[in-house]
Symmetry: D2
Subunit: 143 residues, 4 copies
């Protein structure tokens, strides 16, 4: 079971992550070590070629990793990304984007997660694949 | 010499990359295979811990790579990121962020670039390091 | 169906990839866009801590990506890695290592693959996760 | 000044990293947070196309990162790679390969390093670029 609820995550996003609301991301589902996050399509997300800008896709993926990590450690807002790697696979059209995150490994101080991203309605054609590492702060601090 | 001027890049950003303007990025300098881009600090960029959100940093780095690529190939708006890897090194405080991009390799179809990111006024403490690949479209299209 | 058979791959490895034989890798299974490759444990693969050296793990993963790509394009020996990203998740003990590769996207010129690596007998504890890109040469050459 | 000498590193390699000797790597220079490592060319390193196999290049880069980390923390053999990202830029011919490593950030528990790789005699044409993270074990253990 997730150690954090959707309303609790939403509270963090509203209070402390303005960029996520500017982009229009919403948590759809969260379980222990997994989540689904949606980014609603809007014209501001477009880049040349009529596709969604890479940075918007990366922001969605990073949020999904954050949610996956909080689902395991609870309300530790100060968990931070230390590494993110993204492969852009197909150009997503003007539609909502769906991110499915899952944990690959949870250590004491580091958690590694994977995110698969799709355009809404096209679940067979992954548009981007992300792996990344979050650092989980301890009492002593530092990493 | 760069194959594209700062006003020409700005024209692309204004017309086709609304996210860049939302984030407040500006091209400071561009040469053949290198550039400097600045992201002005504003409260919307903050994340828990009082530091700049990772996605904003990634957006700035991706823009710097785009500028580096266009500096070599000219106005080819449809050049797209295929891979981006970022290591977050230090938590940037509430200040402008500066990205220095340079080309590592320009091939016919792929260009690899590197971006070093700093907080304005702290040129000795890199806050993030990025490498990435852009695909340069050809007449036949596809990659 | 795979466009290359295990004996055909083995022929390439024997003739042109001596390192793979030094490391003791063998193709166990190949289908269209997927494969399983095994690296037999031997003392030469060890690093401090009694675990398998990272470079041996990376070599196995790179081979699995190569096999996945050849399964889709046939005998194109000159396909080359352009990018590889690996996250080491758990320290593998002194046992065979198993790599499961699958294609994420096959484009005209680039193929992106994912490899999940396990210690033999511990299929629930992924020891490393890899994504990477192969460049598929065309008639004109170059990338 | 480096916290470890070349003979001390060589002692670790000889005793505990047989793969490095199989590949023929030698430390040429080490300072605080930087190093140069050479991999002597030999036919076993070749892959189709007459170029040096990617896994050999990755092994050399990983060793250079290890040396950079030990130069800062001293003889902590159990430092391990948690992430490595490589971009292959040009196909190295049949020559020695030279790796220049440098630290990007040393934290308490994580160190991030960068490695630039060249063919001997061609210092202007980088053949591969690597970034990676090492985990530095603490008294409590785990990461």
């Amino acid at each position: 079971m997730s150690k954090i609820t959707i309303p609790e995550i939403q509270e963090i996003l509203d209070a402390e992550l303005p960029l996520v609301n500017i982009l229009g991301c919403a948590i759809e589902d969260v379980g222990a070590g997994r989540c689904t996050v949606r980014m609603a399509f809007k014209p501001e997300l477009i880049r040349p070629g009529g596709t969604i800008a890479g940075p918007a896709t990366m922001a969605l993926a990073d949020l999904a990793m954050y949610v996956v990590v909080l689902s395991l450690v609870g309300r530790v807002e100060l968990a931070v990304t230390t590494n993110l790697n993204i492969n852009f696979l197909r150009k997503p059209g003007p539609a909502d984007m769906i991110a499915h995150g899952r944990i690959l490994k949870r250590g004491k101080r580091l958690a590694v997660a994977e995110v698969e991203l799709f355009s809404d309605g096209a679940p067979d054609d992954m548009v981007a694949h992300v792996t990344g590492t979050y650092s989980i702060p301890s009492q002593e601090g530092g990493n």
